[in-house]
């Protein structure tokens, strides 16, 4: 934690609390936390402070991506040690290149997410806030086994044992896959639920007993309803919902992380240069593109309906590279009808809240940790302006400066 006193002056503040920019604002940071926010041109005491004039640019909370995985690499191709190093490098790049200050993992083999979380939390590396899942849990013949991050469990005790194993190894939450997905073999369908009732109940029971949040991969109404009713903290994907699902989201206050990128980023659907370049580099199999295309409209429909109904939602990408993933997902939210303000909240305040860090992060308010970014354009006019990054500030210190030299 930096001991330096920092003052960011002449900022147009977007605090993720009020839906309007506040011009001519100064933010004072001491010992890594925000101690003063001075609006209307009020001057801070600059004695013993490092003063940074952001020249009217937009100072806002750092971004969050609450559904990520390491790359899908096989141990036969890339040794574990190198995969771990690569994951750390990509997490750090997400922070320093794109201002993504918080990420929530949705499954990683060999607890590499736990290793990096500890390394970042203890200051051994400067990195983002990372929330670890360990493996994602599915059944034998379950979802996305080729990712390398799945753990196949069967029977109630199989799930209980695997969940206890994740807990023992230091995860923050449990990633439970209740259904199939878009990206998998023909038998791995998002319209199918995979777990037996007694398996789901046992899995949620042990998580509830030990007070671990469940991040539930649920892609169809049956799986979504089962997960919400049993106390899931968040529903991931929700490609197909129904009105009862929306009611349950609202009734239980469950988070929805739609991961639009999975169904929307195909050659047929990519619209911007950024999306087209990413799609080209990804080179997804034609059969999977077809499945994504076929699911996209329904996904977009329920996304919009949930948004309008006031379901709590956060940005999670489920794609890589991590430094581009959230930025692409943010663009898709706008494309599917979210306002800039809704999207901004979803990738700042709500991101932190999903991870249980809302007290310390996610908004620019006095007392919070100063993990912030400065962007050149107003994200409340066009949310894609978050790509026009100038500064990344962690604990009050500038760790990336992309401003043109004076």
């Amino acid at each position: 934690m930096s001991n330096t006193r920092h003052i960011y002056t002449n900022a147009t503040l977007i605090d993720s609390v009020r839906p309007t920019p506040i011009p001519n604002t100064s933010v004072v940071v001491e010992n890594g936390r925000i101690t003063q926010i001075l609006e209307g041109g009020a001057k801070a005491d600059t004695a013993n402070a490092v003063v940074t004039d952001v020249a009217g640019a937009y100072l806002m909370p750092g971004l969050w991506d609450v559904h990520i995985h390491p790359d899908y690499l096989q141990l036969a191709d890339v040794p574990l040690a190198d995969q771990v190093t690569l994951f750390g490098h990509k997490l750090i790049a997400a922070l320093t290149d794109s201002g993504i200050v918080g990420l929530r993992c949705a499954g990683a083999h060999h607890y590499m997410d736990v290793a990096w979380k500890r390394a970042f939390d203890t200051g051994q590396y400067v990195g983002p806030h990372l929330y670890a899942a360990g493996h994602f849990l599915t059944t034998t013949g379950g979802h996305f086994l080729t990712s390398g991050h799945a753990l196949e469990c069967d029977g109630p005790y199989g799930f209980v044992h695997a969940i206890r194993e994740q807990m023992k190894n230091g995860v923050d939450h449990i990633k439970l896959n209740l259904s199939g997905g878009i990206m998998g073999p023909a038998w791995d369908l998002h319209t199918h639920s995979f777990l037996l009732d007694e398996e789901i109940k046992a899995a949620f029971a042990i998580c509830h007993q030990r007070e671990f949040k469940v991040m539930a991969h649920a892609t169809n109404p049956q799986a979504v309803k089962a997960a919400i009713k049993l106390g899931a903290h968040s529903i991931e994907h929700g490609y197909i919902l129904d009105d009862e699902c929306i009611d349950l989201f609202l009734e239980h206050g469950t988070w929805y992380v739609p991961t639009l990128a999975i169904t929307h980023l195909t050659p047929n659907q990519a619209q911007t240069d950024f999306e087209r370049r990413w799609v080209k580099n990804r080179n997804l199999m034609q059969s999977l593109c077809c499945r994504a295309d076929a699911a996209a409209d329904v996904h977009a429909h329920w996304f919009e309906k949930a948004l309008k109904a006031g379901v709590k939602m956060a940005v999670g990408s489920d794609i890589r590279p991590l430094k581009e993933a959230a930025l692409l997902e943010i663009g898709l939210w706008a494309k599917d009808g979210a306002t800039p303000w809704q999207t901004l909240l979803a990738t700042t305040k709500h991101g932190a809240e999903v991870c249980g860090a809302g007290k310390d992060l996610g908004t620019i308010e006095v007392g919070k940790i100063a993990d912030m970014i400065v962007v050149a354009g107003n994200p409340l006019e066009d949310i894609n302006n978050v790509q026009r990054l100038q500064l990344v500030i962690k604990n009050g210190d500038i760790i990336t400066d992309k401003r043109a030299p004076a």
Binding site: L75, H110, N169
Partner: protein, 330 residues
């Protein structure tokens, strides 16, 4: 003939039974080990050389054993936090320490209030690998050989600085040992870690340092550093144009760091032997040897007794050095 009372005979019989039962139990435990995932504590953060050495070994052991060997990074306090967590773990073979030299052989000499005694609280299993230090210098520094460095030092007393990762670290002690054996007169400049130390050698503020292959080889290849010698008994594959210290005129001079597997004290001997067998077989496999050598790590191996002797000799070496040059425990 000494008569024994029935009572004493019964006691003896009971004791013998207990001994045999314990021995059988340990043997059975070793035969069935492991029945659940094994935790391999690495006392350093992910992606460093110790972590890489540990994960490469853990990955192969997991495949062989059919149980995951999970690397658990417990970094801090120069490796002592991770080591202490293993000291306090159950001695059942399910918690191992992939140690590096600082927390096992350097700390006993340089740390005043250690919370564990490596010799009593940990059992050696096998030496996993060694990472020799290169003696590297700024390219503009005139000497190109150890002999030239010694001569330059004599001609320019008080004008040479050498750097380390920090006070009482492995390359600080290696640097002091070098000064002692070579007679080079150089001022020690401690840094916080390898990165800043290397940067200042490249910038020319520091004339030379000792550091591990992963930290220096790319810079040597890029011409930003020059390698004068390697402080090991053999040239390093992949950098075999660099002479050993012996070839450079300093026979017997080695410096570097090493990694080894240890277990909590009281781990049954049979379990230690089983882990040793598995680990050594992996260390002898061509695949792991190549993976290590590609990363500048010389693969280890050997028995628990070999490793115990090695640790003992390392501690003695540093103890002697500390006494000779006046390094005080902190």
């Amino acid at each position: 003939m000494v008569a024994t009372s029935p009572h004493r005979r019964n006691s003896f019989a009971r004791g013998l039974s207990l001994f045999l039962a314990l021995a059988l139990c340990a043997a059975a435990q070793a035969q069935t080990w492991p029945q659940k995932p094994v935790r391999m504590v690495v006392a350093y953060p992910p992606s460093g050389t110790t972590d890489v050495a540990g994960r490469l070994l853990a990955e192969r052991m997991s495949r062989t054993l059919g149980q995951q060997v999970v690397v658990d990074n417990r970094a801090g306090a120069g490796g002592m936090i991770g080591a202490l967590s293993v000291v306090h773990a159950d001695p059942d073979g399910y918690t191992l320490l992939l140690a590096a030299s600082p927390e096992v052989s350097i700390a006993p000499v340089t740390v005043k209030a250690m919370q564990y005694d490596p010799a009593k609280d940990l059992i050696p299993i096998t030496l996993v690998g060694q990472v020799p230090f290169f003696l590297v210098a700024n390219p503009a520094f005139p000497p190109n050989t150890v002999a030239e460095l010694i001569a330059y030092s004599k001609a320019n007393p008080g004008k040479i600085n050498y750097s380390s990762f920090g006070n009482n670290t492995s390359n600080h002690l290696g640097g002091e040992l070098f000064k002692l054996k070579s007679g080079v007169d150089a001022t020690h400049v401690p840094y916080k870690g390898s990165g800043p130390s290397i940067i200042d050698v490249m910038a020319g503020q520091i004339q030379y340092t000792f550091d591990a292959p992963p930290a220096v080889l790319n810079q040597v290849r890029a011409g930003k550093l020059k390698a004068i010698a390697i402080a090991s008994t053999k040239r390093l594959p992949g950098a075999d144009t660099v002479p050993t210290m012996a070839e450079a005129g300093m026979p017997g001079f080695t410096a570097g760091t090493w990694f080894g597997l240890l277990a909590p004290a009281k781990t049954p001997r049979a379990v230690i032997e089983r882990i040793n067998t598995v680990a050594v077989a992996e260390l002898n496999s061509p695949e792991l040897r190549k993976s290590y050598e590609d990363r500048g790590i010389l693969p280890g191996g050997g028995s628990p007794e070999d490793f115990a002797r090695f640790i003992h000799s390392e501690i003695a070496k540093w103890q002697q050095l500390a006494t000779t040059v006046g390094i005080k425990p902190e």
